[in-house]
């Protein structure tokens, strides 16, 4: 009984199925890119943002053109379609959370704190549970606001 309960709690959230096998480790680890090179809003805006295919193609017109995933990327590009990336992190609508990236970046919260060590992942996997407990624990630790209105409005 207890085992089942524990399993239920520990059961990882179903991973988002991505249309392309994008490798974060290849870009951050090997290519030495920064998170904000693609997620440009992460430190300055409300939303980090998912890059447009245009950004991918800036490099991949020239680099690793023969990699099977890049070939598939180029197919989207040919059809003038964006890549329908699936969301990895996010809040449910009914949670009424108004999250802003920029103030967290200003407070020098590292990306990995909420997103895990993405630099070692291939396709991004949800490794940090984004529950209210996660948020409020960190807020209290860092003496950030624990007013409900800080996030819910």
């Amino acid at each position: 009984m207890l085992v089942i309960l524990l399993m239920l709690v520990a059961l990882p959230v179903a991973e988002a199925q991505q249309p392309l096998g994008f490798s974060h480790s290849a870009h951050i680890g090997k290519a030495r890119m920064q998170c904000t090179d693609c997620h440009v809003g992460a430190t300055s805006r409300d939303q980090a943002g998912i890059p447009s295919i245009r950004k991918c193609m800036l490099c991949h017109q020239f680099i690793a053109k023969d990699h099977p995933e890049v070939v598939r990327l180029a197919e989207y590009w040919e059809r003038k379609h964006e890549v329908p990336w699936a969301r990895v992190y996010g809040f449910k609508k009914e949670a009424a959370v108004q999250f802003r990236h920029a103030p967290h970046a200003r407070a020098e919260i590292a990306c990995a704190q909420c997103h895990g060590e993405v630099s070692t992942m291939t396709v991004a996997v949800k490794t940090v549970r984004h529950t209210m407990g996660t948020c409020i624990g960190c807020h209290r630790e860092n003496k950030a606001s624990d007013d409900c209105l800080a996030c819910h409005f």
């Binding site: 529950t131 209210m132 407990g133 409020i136 624990g137």
Partner: protein
């Protein structure tokens, strides 16, 4: 011997035989009744499901009348629940001998009414699936319910009362359960044996039972008073005009006992007729309850008068808006119907000794129940219809959902009672045994 009411010509064992023999069989009529009430309850459950699924807007509630039939029913059923335990506890503690055939019927009313009444806060809230947020439990978000909210007190009080009432109903059932177990066999015996918690009838057990009953009677009295006070606080803690009244708590307690007795009278009349308990539930029981009812009617009148007099004399504009609404037009008719039901009719029927009979006392019980429901309606709806700023005034009419659920609760009461009298003796057998000197 004082007219204590027990059929003295019968011996203990024949009383047991007699009472047990009157427990209903699964006859066609019985099953039809179960089916009928069950269907009404099922319909009400459907209505509730419909409300949850398709939106609260399917009720007739609207701005500014955010509380309607559900809260009226809630107060009504919690009120009736006082029938029971409170009356039986008072009678037990004062040693009124005539209580004996009455107590269990009363205690059962309490438990069922609480179960029904306690459902209404759930039916009433917009997001019932988050109901548990009202319960204090440790959580990673470090969120707690608001201990200052009368609704939280409600939850606490009702749960306490329900637990207490269940125990209070159960304790005096134990010897009877053992009795039934002794008379039956097979699976039934095993069930009743288990339920009787190893009752053997030893002196030690009797003494323990007596002590427990006395303790519980005292505890339940306090809890019962507090429960209806807290229900009253739901209203009087707010600043809505005419709700914010200091006498609401005792007013509600009196009203609760009043409607409780009325319900008890009705239930007894029904049991007497349907189960043929004429020998047990005799006219004197009704007359005694009738006198109590009359006393409560006068008390109710006194409170109602005080409440209305002070509002009227105080002449505060916000309160007078509600007062005027309540005494005029549609609500005026309701108001005077209430006065007739709660005072005029019972006063005549019970006060004139020539008119006093089981039938008239039962009629009084029925009118009081109607009157007390109307009283709660008059407390909830007119006040909300007339908030302080006239621009926000509005009105309210229930939709089929509230009507269905209201009907369903009455059916649920009947259903639960039918099931109860089938499974358990409605008259406490051992209380008769106890009085037989031979023992």
């Amino acid at each position: 011997m004082a007219p204590s009411g027990e059929p003295t010509e019968l011996s203990a064992s024949s009383i047991s035989d007699d009472i047990l023999s009157r427990m209903p069989r699964a006859s066609g009529r019985y099953m039809a009744a179960i089916g009928f009430f069950g269907a009404v309850v099922a319909w009400a459950l459907f209505a509730w499901g419909y409300q949850i699924q398709n939106g609260f807007g399917n009720t007739g509630l609207r701005r500014p009348v955010y509380w309607g039939f559900y809260i009226v029913n809630f107060v009504f059923w919690i009120g009736i629940s006082h029938a029971g335990t409170l009356i039986s506890a008072i009678l037990r503690l004062t040693g009124a001998g005539w209580r004996k055939p009455v107590t269990r019927a009363a205690e059962a009313i309490t438990v069922f009414c609480l179960m029904i009444g306690g459902l209404f806060p759930l039916i009433h809230i917009g997001r019932v699936w988050y109901f548990y947020w009202m319960i204090p439990y440790p959580n990673e978000r470090l969120l707690w319910p608001n201990f200052r909210s009368p609704l939280f007190w409600d939850l606490t009080a009702i749960l306490t009362y329900l637990t207490g009432s269940l125990i209070y109903l159960y304790l005096p059932l134990i010897p009877d359960l053992a009795e039934i177990a002794g008379r039956s066999s097979g699976k039934k015996q095993r069930i009743y044996r288990a339920l009787s918690l190893g009752w053997t009838g030893s002196d030690r057990q009797w003494q323990a039972l007596e002590r427990a009953m006395k303790l519980m009677a005292m505890a339940i009295l306090a809890i019962a008073v507090s429960v209806h006070s807290v229900v009253a606080y739901d209203f009087s803690m707010s600043i809505a005009p005419t709700w914010h009244s200091t006498i609401f708590a005792p007013y509600f307690v009196v009203g609760a006992i009043f409607s409780g007795i009325a319900a008890l009278v009705l239930v007894m009349a029904a049991l007497r007729k349907l189960m043929g308990l004429e020998e047990y539930l005799r006219e004197e029981h009704f007359v005694n309850l009738g006198k109590l009812l009359m006393l409560m009617s006068l008390l109710w009148l006194y409170f109602t008068f005080s409440e209305h007099l002070t509002t009227w004399y105080g002449n505060l504009p916000y309160e007078m808006q509600v007062f005027n609404l309540r005494e005029q037009g549609f609500f005026g008719i309701v108001f005077w119907t209430m006065v007739a039901c709660n005072f005029a009719i019972p006063f005549v029927l019970l006060g004139v000794s020539r008119l006093r009979s089981i039938a008239t006392i039962s009629i009084s019980g029925a009118t009081v129940l109607i009157g007390m429901w109307l009283e709660r309606f008059l407390i909830v709806v007119p006040t909300l219809s007339r908030p302080a700023l006239p621009a926000a005034w509005g009105n309210y009419a229930p939709s089929w959902i509230e009507l269905s659920i209201t009907a369903g609760t009455f059916a649920a009461m009947a259903l639960l009672y039918l099931l109860f009298v089938k499974a358990f003796p409605i008259i406490a057998i051992w209380e008769y045994d106890e009085t037989i000197p031979a023992r």
